[in-house]
């Protein structure tokens, strides 16, 4: 697979998935592991896992896949391919700016906003059912909220502080 093919495959699959990250994983796993054998399953799963333990968007794990195939150039090609699609929002933004005062557009925007908030709670619920499986996760979760709301340390400090606390507990406590 050439560098250009890496760029096209990752970019195309990322856009085809249309907001469904799991679909990208399935498509890429089929193409890179089962079809072509460019990566073995362990490499692929490791790259995917990195998306969860590194900051930023989840789809940054695609840089790991690009790096495994073509080194730094592959990582950069993967990143470029998933960023370009974001520019499709600009024409939509232009249309939105022209029509934002129209009654049905305002209704649509309110509907989009309200359903987006619902989606955030749904994601929170899903992450919660996966993550809150013992004492340490609850300590980390509550510490994050405490640092943000009570200590007013900001989200980043709250998150990192609670994570460091959790890692410390994980090494100390056998749970």
């Amino acid at each position: 697979m050439s560098l250009f093919q890496v760029f096209i495959v990752i970019g195309t699959y990322n856009m085809l998935a249309f907001g469904n990250g799991s679909a990208v994983v399935a498509l890429l796993q089929h193409r890179l592991v089962e079809d072509s054998g460019i990566l073995n399953l362990n490499q692929f799963l490791y790259a995917y896992a990195l998306g969860r333990v590194t900051p930023g968007q989840n789809n940054l794990y695609l840089a790991s896949i690009g790096f495994m195939i073509y080194g730094w150039l592959g990582a950069l090609a993967a990143m470029l391919s998933i960023q370009i699609g974001g520019y499709l929002v600009l024409p939509v933004l232009k249309v939105y700016d022209r029509m934002r005062e129209v009654g049905w557009v305002q209704g649509a925007i309110r509907g989009l906003g309200a359903s987006s908030v619902g989606l955030m709670f749904a994601v929170g619920f899903r992450v919660g059912t996966e993550a809150m499986t013992g004492l340490i996760p609850w300590v980390v979760f509550l510490s994050t909220l405490a640092l943000i709301f009570l200590a007013r340390r900001g989200m980043l400090v709250g998150m990192l502080g609670a994570t460091v606390l959790g890692l410390g507990l994980k090494f100390i406590l056998p749970v």
Partner: protein
């Protein structure tokens, strides 16, 4: 490219210098928890601290981003970057947002041989997810605060939440459906007051 202010647009577009945009998006890119974690940091930086964007505008841009065939936050970075500093703002916002994660991902990929079979990633995963959950909850509460009272908008919130959890509909479809339903049922209705 300079920002073109549409005469039809009722809100004057705010601006930030490219350096400020880089700082805001770099901080946001340091958030764990995927796109919602990044959104939470953006909300804190742009809405709460700098008062550059109203809550509703950021939520709208995020909703539009969800409908784009790319990563949601990629589209949000382009949209916000463009709002703040035109085309140059989009490039700076994107680079700054992905930089922390990109560097971490590549470094950890280089360390594949050392980390792939050890417990370190599991440990990080087990402690980062709950912290990320905290960010997601705070972000949802802050952005959704005006909607948390008995209203038709609140019905949309609950319906979207339920439809994504069960029967597990595609989030992009749920948001698109929310937009269509909003155009039909929310047009001309008073918005719930915060």
């Amino acid at each position: 490219m300079s920002e073109v202010v549409e005469p039809q647009s009722p809100t004057p577009h705010p601006t930030l210098s490219l350096t400020q945009i880089f700082i805001v998006f770099f901080k946001a890119g340091c958030a764990f928890g995927g796109g919602l974690g990044v959104l939470g940091l953006l909300q804190e930086q742009l809405v709460t601290l700098r008062r550059i964007l109203p809550d509703k505008e950021l939520l709208t841009l995020w909703s539009i981003g969800r409908l784009m065939p790319s990563g949601t936050m990629t589209a949000v970075a382009v949209a916000v970057g463009y709002r703040l500093a035109g085309f140059a703002g989009t490039v700076v916002a994107l680079v700054a947002m992905i930089l922390p994660g990109f560097v971490c991902v590549v470094v950890l990929t280089i360390a594949y041989g050392y980390l792939a079979h050890g417990p370190v990633l599991d440990y990080i995963d087990a402690t980062l997810l709950p912290a990320a959950l905290g960010i997601i909850v705070v972000s949802a509460l802050r952005l959704g605060r005006p909607l948390m009272r008995l209203s038709l908008d609140f019905v949309f919130v609950v319906a979207a939440c339920v439809l994504v959890i069960w029967p597990g509909l595609n989030p992009a479809l749920v948001i698109l459906g929310g937009g269509v339903a909003g155009a039909l049922f929310l047009r001309g209705k008073n918005e719930p007051r915060p």
